[in-house]
Subunit: 106 residues, 2 copies
């Protein structure tokens, strides 16, 4: 599965899918942190906020791995998490789309 | 200096000074975090917020050490940081107040 070749056109699409999903997730994290901070009333809420940021930062760093050997897995996971939609995959070769969807079903 | 004896009355005063300063610093941290989060506009602001919370939590944990062998140093530092005032020390033996003020001048 990691032996897929990516054409120049597919690389462009992959980069767009990847960047869009990453930006969405970063925006959602910023929004959620602002919401949690606005509700925070005591030190424990603030320590919990630190943990929330730390976990999400680590999670995002690990998840968004733009190596062509990993992209099918990355997109599969993003599909499962509903961070990307089937429509965004249009333009990739059908065997890649199938592989991404199979991983997305796990 | 750590050989000071603390009378029951002084222990009560010390506990009040300590708890009041700690509460003030925690309240200030909560307020500052809420302010920073409200201003945050992008992921870098959020990662900086995580670092801010982490540093302040560690700093507070280290600073507020309620061992009688440490209290003079703790109060000296709090005085230097203007987190407590001379007036709050009233009721402690004068040699303790002198020692706290000396440390506060460093």
């Amino acid at each position: 599965m990691h032996d897929f070749n990516w054409t120049a056109a597919e690389k462009k699409i992959a980069r767009r899918i990847f960047d869009t999903a990453l930006q969405r997730e970063l925006d959602a994290t910023v929004a959620k942190v602002k919401e949690l901070a606005a509700k925070a009333a005591n030190p424990d809420d603030i320590w919990a906020l630190e943990e929330y940021i730390s976990e999400h930062r680590r999670d995002i760093d690990q998840k968004y791995d733009y190596r062509y050997s990993q992209l099918i897995f990355v997109f599969g996971r993003l599909l499962r998490e509903k961070r990307i939609s089937d429509e965004e995959l249009v333009g990739l070769a059908s065997e890649k789309i199938q592989a991404i969807k199979r991983i997305g079903e796990f």
